[in-house]
Amino acid sequence: MTGVLPVALEESTKVVQALLLSGKEYICAMRLHHSMPEEKVETVLNEFQGKIYQRPPVRSSVKRRLRVRTIYYLDFLEMREKHVLFRVGCESGTYIRKLCFDIGEVLGCGAHMQELRRTRAGPFTESEGLVTLYDLLYYVSECQETGNKESLREIIYPMEKALELLPKIFIRDSAVAAVCHGAYVTAPGVLSIETGTKKKDGVVIFTQKGEAVAFARALASSERILNMDHGFVAKTVRVLMDRNVYPKMWSMSSST
């Protein structure tokens, strides 16, 4: 299986938790065990859109109990004899090998996954900045020759890229250090917030310069937060930024 595999470096490994839970898109080649009319295959593929039940395959790294997974879209691309090509957008934790098997069961002819290429993992896509291990090796050896590492910027994204699809809360400079030390995000510290956040949703706290500060859990909806003038807005879950980037602004008690 080939395709998009985001790799987080050093400190940014903290953001993989967001990528693990993000949706994926694949191009899949499936082989039917008997010939089937094209219209029938298309109809059955359509039926697999929406919420499906799936029991993880025998060879899997999770408990094998029936789970519900969402198939966002499943587009038939082409078909030649027993080979079917489709594109699928799905929730994380969907097994495509199992999806092919189940499609085969519904068709009645049986089927299995022949080849798979991931074309998207969360915000990372096949069409934007995808590099192979060979590319990476080329850039690194070039850097070693010239002694200038600047060209690495062409193949590495800032970790903020990995957080692109999550709802964001932007905060004041003066609130950054406190959140870096694990404090709750408070209403006066909030400058702006993206729509579509509900209570208990995971959000990402950002500075005005677009730097990720922390993962947090919203304590109210985006619309409520907009109208709050005091109190906690989000609970910091995981700090992403170094603690010493912004100055501490909170008052310390005078007694030592």
Binding site: T2, L5, A8, V131, L152, D173, L191, G196, Q208
Partner: protein, 80 residues
């Protein structure tokens, strides 16, 4: 059954609560980080080849860049 939007098809708008100037003295835009920090806080959109496991590929990235930590987002099986 249809109509469940993929996360990458959801459009979000920004609701502004207050405005303030940011102090250029502290922090910087992610793209402008010094190269050392840029790599330390970086992610590579890697095209995995078939054969090695996601874990092995990650280990190679670590070796090529001579860094101590790297982690991948979402396992892609080895075979085929």
């Amino acid at each position: 059954m249809q109509g469940i939007n993929a996360p990458w098809k959801i459009k979000r708008k920004l609701l502004v609560k207050a405005e303030e100037k940011t102090d250029a003295q502290y922090g910087c835009r992610p793209e402008e980080r010094p190269i050392k920090d840029y790599v330390r806080l970086g992610v590579i959109n890697l095209d995995k080849t078939s054969g090695p496991s996601s874990h092995e590929v990650t280990a190679w990235v670590k070796r090529i860049l001579t860094i101590a930590h790297a982690g991948h987002g979402g396992t892609l099986g080895a075979s085929v």
